[in-house]
């Protein structure tokens, strides 16, 4: 971009502090013993150990995918700590008062309200620190409605029948390299079960924090919405600044039965590395929703601003007739960030519909790719898809790509895809200047307008946060 808009440095990462807290970690490296140790530490039943071992053995036979449009040095899987938990007394926590104050302080700094007095916002939060779930709020209130919201380790003990029935059904253990790795070593995550006909009374939320420098974070989320139920779920994440790269390989599985609706929103703000591309999180995540029942609906909304590398394709498998899949995404990359993200919409049932809206913003020397798949199976009558992916380039050293795959095997399908690339025009900035608006404000307004279609899908608080986040990330990009 010419004179007035230039990529310079972005706002320093404000969540980059390290909490000095004693942790209980396994030694580095991965072997069958480590997998057994993780399972034993969590006191898991036999079926979970079998699940992990099956995944681990599968992982050994797999190869790391080379097709994403990202570059990174080879990962040494033996140099990662696969389990790390903040040291706490052995006994179960009765209330938040028992939680290490240093931890609470950490989350205060992050602006997460797990303290009792801050529970004014009507959102139930599950907090995951390194590999372990720290606290889940509003549990009792939710239980009154029959909603189960707890950490997945807790669910394995208390609701093994549900976990056994759904875990790994959407993303099988051998689905892909990182999914297999996660299935073998996942430490914690959230579990949500919404019973038949229940509209979840409040938004549910998980907050992930990576603290330890050598830890990989492998969390796993499972959400099951029974017939006629609905739930809105939010996910947020941050990590301290280290100049080494950390691996984050998570799995999210959603199951929506007849007439159920799940809305899953993410604001991802892992540490992205410094302006020279040093450090940052490798965010290799598998997210997939299964619209199992008729008229079910799964909607993914994501705002991706962090991570050195993002490799993520929240997908919908539309099995139930008339089911609906949606994907709304804003991906912002700056400096040396690389993002290869998009979605997959697999149409299996009749009259299934999907919408994809993807907005990519690339600044600095970053690389931003949209990769999508729309697949209409031979028996899916009357499938409908609309995809739109727009890219905005700030500066002429960043890179925008689109790789949309469209595979149609049924003639009654209607599939549309469109993509465009643009920049912020001098004339637009001039128009703002005429009205006394500075270039910085103008750029931030234009970007916020560019992302409007996606932000509209976010819950209110999240939308405001996302908007702010984008302007922070691009601060000083205008000069």
């Amino acid at each position: 971009m010419s004179s007035s808009v230039q990529s310079v440095v972005s706002q320093p990462y404000k969540y980059g502090f390290v909490t000095d807290i004693e942790s209980d970690s396994l030694p580095r490296g991965l072997s069958e013993d480590v997998v057994r140790a993780i399972s034993a530490k969590k006191n898991e039943p036999q079926f979970m150990l079998d699940f992990r071992l099956k995944a681990y053995r599968r992982w050994l036979t797999m190869e790391e995918p080379a097709w994403p449009n990202v570059k990174y040095p080879p990962i040494d899987y033996d140099d990662i700590v696969y389990y790390s938990a903040p040291k706490q007394s052995e006994k179960k926590l009765d209330s938040l008062d028992d939680v290490d104050p240093a931890l609470l302080e950490t989350f205060d700094k992050l602006g997460i309200s797990i303290n009792e007095q801050k529970r004014l916002a009507n959102v139930a939060v599950d907090v995951v620190f390194d590999s372990v779930s720290i606290a889940t709020t509003f549990k009792e209130d939710l239980a009154k409605h029959g909603v189960i919201f707890c950490s997945i380790s807790e669910a394995i003990h208390e609701h093994p029948e549900l976990v056994k029935k759904y875990l790994g059904t959407v993303i099988p253990t051998g689905d892909n390299y990182f999914a297999a790795l996660n299935s073998a070593v996942f430490s914690d995550g959230s579990f949500v079960y919404i019973p038949k006909g229940v509209k979840c009374p409040m938004d549910l939320s998980t907050y992930f924090r990576m603290n330890n420098g050598d830890t990989g974070q492998f969390e796993r989320t499972l959400i099951v919405a029974e017939e006629g139920s609905s739930v809105t779920y939010l996910e947020g994440c941050t990590a301290p600044m280290y100049d080494t790269n950390q691996l984050h390989a998570a799995i999210v599985e959603l199951v929506a039965l007849d007439n159920a609706e799940i809305k899953y929103s993410t604001v991802q703000n892992w540490f992205a590395g410094d302006e020279n591309g040093k450090g940052g999180i490798y965010n290799f995540v598998t997210k997939r929703g299964l619209c199992k029942g008729v008229n079910s609906k799964i909607s993914w909304t994501q705002v991706e601003t962090g991570s050195a590398i993002t490799w993520k394709y929240p997908s919908c498998v539309l099995v139930g007739d008339n089911s609906v899949g949606e994907f709304y995404s804003v991906a912002l990359t700056n400096n040396y960030q690389q993002a290869d993200t998009g979605t997959k919409m697999v149409h299996v049932g009749n009259n299934t519909r999907s919408t994809i809206i993807s907005k990519g913003i690339s600044a600095g020397k970053s690389k931003n790719s949209y990769r999508g798949l729309v697949q209409v199976n031979p028996k899916a009558e009357g499938a409908r898809n609309y995809s739109q992916c727009d890219s905005m380039l700030l500066g002429d050293t960043s890179n925008a790509n689109t790789f949309p795959y469209i595979q149609v095997q049924n003639s009654t399908a209607q599939v549309e895809h469109e993509a465009s690339t643009s920049k912020i025009g001098e004339d637009q900035l001039f128009y703002f200047a005429q009205r006394g608006i500075s270039p910085e404000d103008a750029v931030s307004m234009i970007i916020s307008g560019f992302c409007r279609d996606v932000f509209n899908e976010l819950p209110m608080e999240f939308a405001a946060e996302a908007d702010k986040l984008l302007s922070l990330k691009l601060e000083n990009s205008v000069g």
Binding site: A400, I406, V408, T412, A413
Partner: protein, 443 residues
Amino acid sequence: MTKSISTTNVSASAVNRATYLKHLLTQASAAADESTLPLKALRDQAIATVSDHTFPSGRDEEWRFTDLSDMLSLPFQRAAKGTDAHQLAFSAVQSDYQLASLNGHYRSSDSKTLKQAGVVVAPLSELLQSPDYTQKLEAIVSSRLAQLQGAEEVFTALNTAGFTDVMVVWLAADQVIEEPVCVVRESEGEAIAHLRTLVIAERHAKLTLVESFSGTGEATRCNTSVTEIWLAEGAQVNHVRLQDESAETFHIAKTAVDQAANSRYQCTAIDLGAKLSRHHLEVYQSGPQTDTHMYGLSALGDRQLADTHSLLTLIHPHSSATQIQKNIVDDKAHAVFNGKVFVAQTAQLTDAAQLNRNLMLSNKARIDTKPELDIVADNVKCAHGATVSQLQPDEVFYLQSRGISAEQAQRLLLYGFAMEIVEKISIESLRQSLSDRLTEWAQ
């Protein structure tokens, strides 16, 4: 490290593919040895390139949707000079410049060549014997033949290793030929042939090139075709490509284009025939302000497969490009489209638009499309779109309400869909013949 590096088992099919490629290469070299063209260095290089490759499988991203495994059981032999005495002619276009070949072997009886100071339309084998083949011309040809980017692709290299002749079209600076130059390619019998064409338009030269590929008989065969087109500054080439091979043909083609500053290139590719056809159109830029138009139409039935791959690489500023690819698939046919547009940081002020539209007429048909944009420059206008659908019932109904039968309405809509591409062809007689052909196809 406990994770052992898994040794990939060399599967039986991989062995199969390796042997098959070796077989094709042997046939290609034998064909090259029989031809008298003194191109040893070029051939050796191509042989080395092919030897570095494996025969493509579905695991190669570029061949993911185009399955060549049917070929593996067909041990094609190099094509002999055809015996058929019938006249090779391209009825749709009458021209004074025609180069005809049967199974890749040049047929002088059916050709009308031209060798004069400013214009050459002749096969290389004949040029070599001619006193008009000056050192200067030789230098021009040898600096261009097989020198375009993308030559390391396996079928292109195989073609270089095995072509029996090269159809050469050369226009000196400021030369303009109004009549189209026709390159007529016919095939017969069970064989593999490697067809090669080299077109050079010097500064401000202008020509229309018509390539036609067709075959007779029911024999299974394979044709690889490579057409290299060089446009110097301000040159204009209007290229029409008509692929109407016989039903059991594997047609694997590459058109590689180099565009210098201010040049204009248009390709209109029509795919009607072949069992499996692939057209890889690559346009490279060697100067600013180029203008590129890529149009394509595939109309397929039965179990036909047509694959259009295109690559447009823009590295200079102020260029414009349009692409429209339309596919109609009926029965169990399968259309593949992969259009790549790369806009480098140096290609500011590019205006590129790409559209892929697919019409599915049967539930057994299949479409795989992937329009791709890769953009680094920020001051550009780039867009692409892709659609897949069937004929719209409301459009059919509208025509019915005007007293046109449903069947006729469908034919009319199909015809309209296809003609948008055909109308880009500037040769009236060819437009007419294709229009008739499509009307017949739509029946």
